[in-house]
């Protein structure tokens, strides 16, 4: 792995990850998530792992596209309210702790903690050494899609229930508005009458 390529990919990865976490708009977050997938793909290409890079980019972009489409249809709800400062500080503290533990360990250990291995192509490994693993990964992927479809589906009775609940809420809101209007009108009449106000 070339040093220049590694550092360029590393900067891209860190910037895109920071953008994905920091940006609040749906479109900006989606673009940043795509940038994360692509920058990690660039990192893998720099490391001469072309098949892994291709699979990573295709799988992650398909996943991001699915989530973005769900978000566009409103299935993922609206944006949440801003966080209080204490929560930001808590998050920053946790991130610094993770950074110190992980990177501190890596820096303290130096580079003598790893044994050398032999270079083998991923396709060869999946085909000859780990066919069961490859099969299991396919099964996991298909199962995830099926489970997501099963969880996310809307039954007709559920849709009817949701519609009934929405109608009930609207009716309650109308009645509340009417009550408030009547109370306001009564108060106005009492204030307008000569002996009113008491």
């Amino acid at each position: 792995m070339s040093a220049a390529g590694f550092y360029i990919a590393a900067v891209l990865i860190v910037l895109s990850c920071a953008a994905a976490v920091g940006l609040r708009g749906a479109r900006e977050s989606a673009v940043a998530a795509v940038a994360v997938a692509v920058s990690i793909g660039i990192f893998l290409v720099v490391g001469h792992e072309y098949l892994l890079a291709l699979l990573e980019v295709v799988i992650l972009l398909a996943t991001v596209a699915t989530v973005v489409e769900m978000d566009r249809r409103g299935a993922l709800g609206s944006r949440a309210s801003p966080l209080p400062l204490s929560r930001w500080l808590y998050a920053a503290g946790l991130a610094v702790l993770a950074l110190v533990v992980l990177d501190g360990t890596a820096l303290a250990a130096g580079s003598g903690w790893h044994p050398r291995g032999v270079e083998t192509a991923l396709s060869s490994v999946l085909n000859h050494q780990a066919p069961v693993t490859a099969g299991l990964l396919v099964v996991v992927g298909v199962a995830a899609v099926l489970v997501a479809l099963a969880i996310g589906r809307t039954d007709p009775d559920e849709a009817e229930h949701v519609e009934r609940h929405r109608a009930h809420q609207e009716r309650e809101a109308r009645m509340r508005r009417r009550r408030e209007d009547r109370a306001a009108a009564r108060a106005k009449r009492q204030a307008a009458s000569p002996g009113g106000g008491g």
């Binding site: 040093a3 590694f6 990865i13 860190v14 994905a20 976490v21 609040r24 749906a26 977050s29 994360v36 990690i40 990192f43 893998l44 892994l52 699979l55 990573e56 799988i59 992650l60 699915t66 989530v67 769900m70 978000d71 299935a75 993922l76 709800g77 609206s78 949440a80 309210s81 966080l83 929560r87 808590y90 998050a91 946790l94 993770a98 950074l99 992980l102 990177d103 360990t105 890596a106 820096l107 130096g110 580079s111 903690w113 790893h114 044994p115 291995g117 270079e119 490994v125 050494q129 780990a130 990964l137 992927g141 995830a144 899609v145 489970v147 997501a148 969880i151 996310g152 559920e158 609940h165």
Partner: protein, 108 residues
Amino acid sequence: MSIGPGQVAILSGIVFAIGAFGLVSRRDAFGLLTSLAILLLASVIAFAGFTAVRGGSLGPPQGEVVALAAVVVCAAVILVGAALVALLQRRRESLDTDEYLDVEADPR
């Protein structure tokens, strides 16, 4: 100048820290899922990076396979998570995770 496993581990640690920050600091579903994906992708960077510098503790072939497994698991987690979020959105009409902590809230 060559790249060793140490640099890869540091990069992986930085990405993990960013993901951990996002997991705590975001309350919307899209942000939480993205942060979770970044956490998992930190492991992809580590395994694939160790393989690329030919020094993984598991040996390069296993490292690549584990990195691929992490990508697939990441995608699976995001898909199932998004489906659960869609279900919660329909049932609770709110995705603010802090509201789920309110035990007195009406669960319908």
